[in-house]
Amino acid sequence: MKNIKLTVSHAPFWHDGDSLFRMNLNIMIAALPAVICGLIQFGGPALGVLALSISSAMAWEYIMAILAKKKSDIGKLDTAVIGLLFGMMLPATAPWWLIIIGTFVAVIIGQTIFGGTGANPFNPTLIGMGILMISWKTFFDFNAAYVNYSFDYSHLAPLSAIKQFGASAAADFPITNLIMGQQVGAIGSTFGLGLIIGGIYLILRGYIRWEITLSFIAGIILTALCFNLANPEQYAGPMTHLFSGYTLLGAFFLLPENSSSPVNRIPMLIYGLLAAIMIILMRNIGVYTDGTVLAILLVNLINPIIDTIKPKALGKGASHA
C-alpha cells in the first residue's frame, strides 16, 4: 500500500443517481402516450413534424455550442425535450420552415442567449411558440389545418367553436371525446387521458412539482366555473376548458418547466393559480382562442418576484438574540 493514488472529492459521497439525462428522458417517456395517440390520429405528417422538431432543436443547440466554442450538452436531452414539446404543440400540417424557425427561436432566443439550461427566465418552448403564433397566425388555425383530413368527429377545434358560437357549441364536444383524443388540435394536445397519465407519472417520479399542476387545474376549474355560472350561454363549462386546447399540456409539461417556475410551496400555488386565471380570462374575454401560451409566458415573468415568498431559514434574524 505504498503510493496509492486515491480519488479525492467532496462530501457527500453518495448521490441518488439522478441526472439531467434521466430527468429529460422521463419527461419524454411521459409525453409518449399523448404523442402516440397524436400519431395514430394524424398519421405520417405528424411523425414528420415531431422528427423535424426534435432534430432541429438539437441541431440548433449543437451549432450554438460550436459557435460559442463550448462543450455541447446535447447528450443531456434538454433541447430534445424542447423540440418534442414544440412539435406536440404544432398542427400536423405545419410546414418544415415553420418548425425550423420555431425551434431556432425556442432554443437560441428562448434559452441559449440567456445562458443555457437553467438560465432561461421563460419557458423556451413557449417563446418559440409565442413568436410563431403572432407572426404566422394562419398556421395555428386548427380548423383550417385539417381540411384535408376526415374524422368521425367534429372538424372544429373546440376552443374556436366556443369562441365563435358560444357555450352551446360545447355540446358538440362531449367530455369523453375530449379525453379520448376525439378532437381536432395540435399533435400532442388532443389525448387528454394520455397527458394525465404522463403527468401523474412525472409527479410520482418527482420530476414535476405537484403544487403547480394541482393549483393550476383547480384554478382552471374555479375560474371557468365562475364565468359559466355568471353567463352559461356565453361561457363554456370548466371541463371543456380543462380538456381542450393546450390546457393539459400546459398543466403537466409547460407550466412546471423547472427554470421558469417557482420552487417554494406558496409561490408555486400562487403561480399555478395565476396562470389558470390568465388562461380563462384570455379565452373568455380576450381575443385569443387559446391563451395558454401567452398566459404561461406572462406568469413566467412574475416568477422571480413571487418566489421571494419563502420560509424563514433556521436561525435567521435570531443573530442578535
Binding site: P12, F13, H15, L20, S259, A313, G315
Partner: protein, 460 residues
C-alpha cells in the same frame, strides 16, 4: 449506496444506522512501530521549532510546535520523532504531521546531549509530576503522568487530544458561560455506530465522565442524547436522557437544539454561544479514564466500512496510520478508490492511506472506484429538490447561484449561507449533480477568512 426510489414524491428518507444488539468485541490493532500525529497548526519555518527530527519523546508527552503554540498533540508512545511535515486538509487548512517511531534510544549516539536539550525544550510547558529526563536516564518504561485537578484549565492543558476529542478548548474559553452539556451518544452521520457502541459498552465510565465534566465545567444541566431506537443498559441517574429521532439529519447539533432544547441556533453562531456544549460519548468515557489513570489514554473506537459495505469495529491507538487498520482487516485499496474519513454525507476524502487515526474520527469508509458518483459543471436547473429537502429552509437554489460566482457576501446576507447545518442532503438529491455542499463549505471558509483578515487589519 441508496439510490433514488422509483417513486420519489417525498424525497429520500435516510435513517441513521443502529448499533448491533450484541455489541461485538472490536478488532484490536496493535500499536505500530511508526505513528503519525496531527497538530492543528501549520509549519512555520520562521519560528524556532521546539520539536525536530530525532528528538526523543515520552509516552504521554505533550508536543507543541513552537513555544507560543496553543495547539498541541500528545505522543501515544515513547520513541523518536522521525519527521515533521506539512499537511493540507480538503479545504486548504494547513496543519502538521509529526511522525514518531518507537525505536529505542541507542545510547551510543554522540548527539545525546543535544537531543536531550531539545527534548527538554519540548517539555518545558509540561507540568509533569515526575521528571521525564530522570526517568529516561534510568531506562524505565516511560510514561508521563499528569498533575490533573478538577478544573477546566488543567484538563485543557493535557487532555484535549483524548479519543473522542473533548471540546475542552471551547469549554475553557467559555468558562462560566456554558450552562448545558449534551453528551452525544448519537452518531451524526450515516453508517457510523461508534458513539452508540461506546455509550452502551462503557456506560459506567460514560456516567463518571459526565459527572466529571459537570464538575469541571460547572454546567447546571447535563443531557445524554441517544437514538430513539436505543435502550440504555441501566438508568442514567443524574443524566437527563433525550431521545433523538432516527431520521437523518436530526442528530446534528443545530437540530438537537431546536427539537429538544427549544433553542434556535442563530446564523453563524456555535452552540457554545448559546451556552450549550456538545461532547461525544467517547470523549466523556476517555475523560473518566484519563482522570482515573492520571495520564492520557489513546485507544480509539472506529467504525470501518469496507468496499462491500461490510462494517467492522476497530480499536486502535490514536496516530495509527489507516493503512495498518486496512491490513488488519484485509481491506485492499486500489488506485482511484476513495478513502473517506467520517460518514458518507459529511465526511472528507483524504489523499493518503497513511492518514492517522485522529481523536475525532468515528468512521472510515473505503469506497470502490466504480461506486464513486460523478459531479458535473451544469448550472442549477431550479428543480427545487434541494429546497424540499433542506432541514434548515435555506434557499439553496439562489444560494448556489451566488456561491458559484464567488458572491459570498450576498450569499450570506440574502440567501442564508450561515443557516446551513451541513447535512449534505441538497447535494445528494441534486439532479444537475452540482457539488453544492463544497460550494457552501468554501463560501463559509472564505468569509471567515475575510473576517479574520479584516480583524487583523483593524488591529494594525
Amino acid at each position: 449506496m441508496i439510490k433514488r426510489s422509483f417513486f420519489s414524491l417525498s424525497g429520500p428518507g435516510f435513517n441513521y444506522d443502529t448499533v448491533e444488539p450484541d455489541l461485538k468485541e472490536p478488532t484490536s490493532i496493535p500499536i505500530p512501530p511508526k505513528l503519525i500525529l496531527l497538530v492543528n497548526e501549520p509549519v512555520n519555518p520562521g519560528k524556532k521549532a521546539l520539536i525536530k527530527a530525532k528528538s526523543k519523546v515520552t509516552k504521554g508527552q505533550k508536543l507543541c510546535l513552537y513555544s507560543e503554540s496553543t495547539e498541541y498533540t500528545v505522543s501515544p508512545i515513547s520513541g523518536k520523532i522521525k519527521a515533521v511535515e506539512s499537511y493540507s486538509d480538503n479545504i486548504g487548512n494547513l496543519s502538521t504531521y509529526i511522525v514518531i517511531s518507537d525505536e529505542k534510544d541507542d545510547k551510543s549516539s554522540s548527539k545525546k546531549s543535544k537531543k536531550s536539550s531539545e527534548k527538554s525544550g519540548a517539555s518545558d510547558k509540561l507540568k509533569a509530576s515526575d521528571k521525564p529526563d530522570d526517568s529516561k536516564e534510568s531506562g524505565d518504561p516511560e510514561e508521563i503522568s499528569y498533575d490533573l485537578d478538577e478544573s477546566l484549565t488543567s484538563a485543557d492543558e493535557f487532555l484535549r487530544m483524548l479519543p473522542g476529542a473533548p471540546p475542552l478548548k471551547q469549554l475553557a474559553a467559555g468558562e462560566g458561560k456554558i450552562d448545558t452539556i449534551v453528551i452525544s451518544g448519537v452518531d451524526t452521520d450515516l453508517l457510523s455506530t461508534t458513539r452508540q457502541y461506546v455509550t452502551l459498552k462503557f456506560f459506567d465510565e460514560l456516567k463518571k465522565g459526565a459527572l466529571l465534566l459537570q464538575k469541571i465545567s460547572r454546567a447546571s444541566k447535563v443531557f445524554l442524547a441517544i437514538p430513539a431506537t436505543l435502550n440504555l443498559p441501566e438508568t442514567a441517574d443524574t443524566l437527563q436522557v433525550i431521545k433523538i429521532s432516527e431520521k437523518y439529519p436530526s442528530a446534528l447539533p443545530a437540530l438537537i437544539l431546536k427539537d429538544h432544547l427549544n433553542m434556535i441556533l442563530p446564523q453563524g453562531k456555535s452552540p457554545e454561544d448559546l451556552g450549550v456544549c456538545f461532547v461525544s460519548a467517547e470523549a466523556a468515557v476517555s475523560l473518566a479514564r484519563a482522570y482515573k489513570a492520571k495520564t492520557a489514554v489513546f485507544e480509539k473506537i472506529l467504525t470501518v466500512i469496507g468496499k462491500g459495505g461490510k462494517a467492522y469495529r476497530v480499536k486502535a491507538s490514536i496516530g495509527t496510520p489507516l493503512t495498518r487498520v486496512f491490513k488488519a482487516l484485509r481491506i485492499q485499496l486500489n488506485d482511484q478508490d476513495r478513502l473517506i474519513i467520517g460518514g458518507p454525507m459529511r465526511g472528507f476524502a483524504t489523499y493518503t492511506v497513511h492518514h492517522p487515526v485522529e481523536a475525532s474520527m468515528d468512521t472510515v469508509i473505503v469506497q470502490k472506484q466504480t461506486k464513486i458518483t460523478e459531479v458535473s459543471d451544469s448550472a442549477c436547473i431550479n428543480c427545487g429538490k434541494c429546497i424540499q429537502i433542506c432541514p434548515a429552509q435555506v434557499p439553496v437554489n439562489m444560494l448556489v447561484r451566488n456561491l458559484e460566482i464567488a458572491k459570498y457576501e450576498e450569499a450570506a446576507d440574502f440567501y442564508d449561507l450561515f443557516s446551513c447545518i451541513e447535512c449534505g442532503l441538497c447535494t445528494y438529491v441534486c439532479t444537475a449533480q452540482i457539488p453544492i455542499f463544497q460550494h457552501i463549505l468554501l463560501g463559509k471558509h472564505k468569509l471567515l477568512n475575510f473576517k479574520a483578515d479584516a480583524e487583523i487589519g483593524d488591529c494594525k
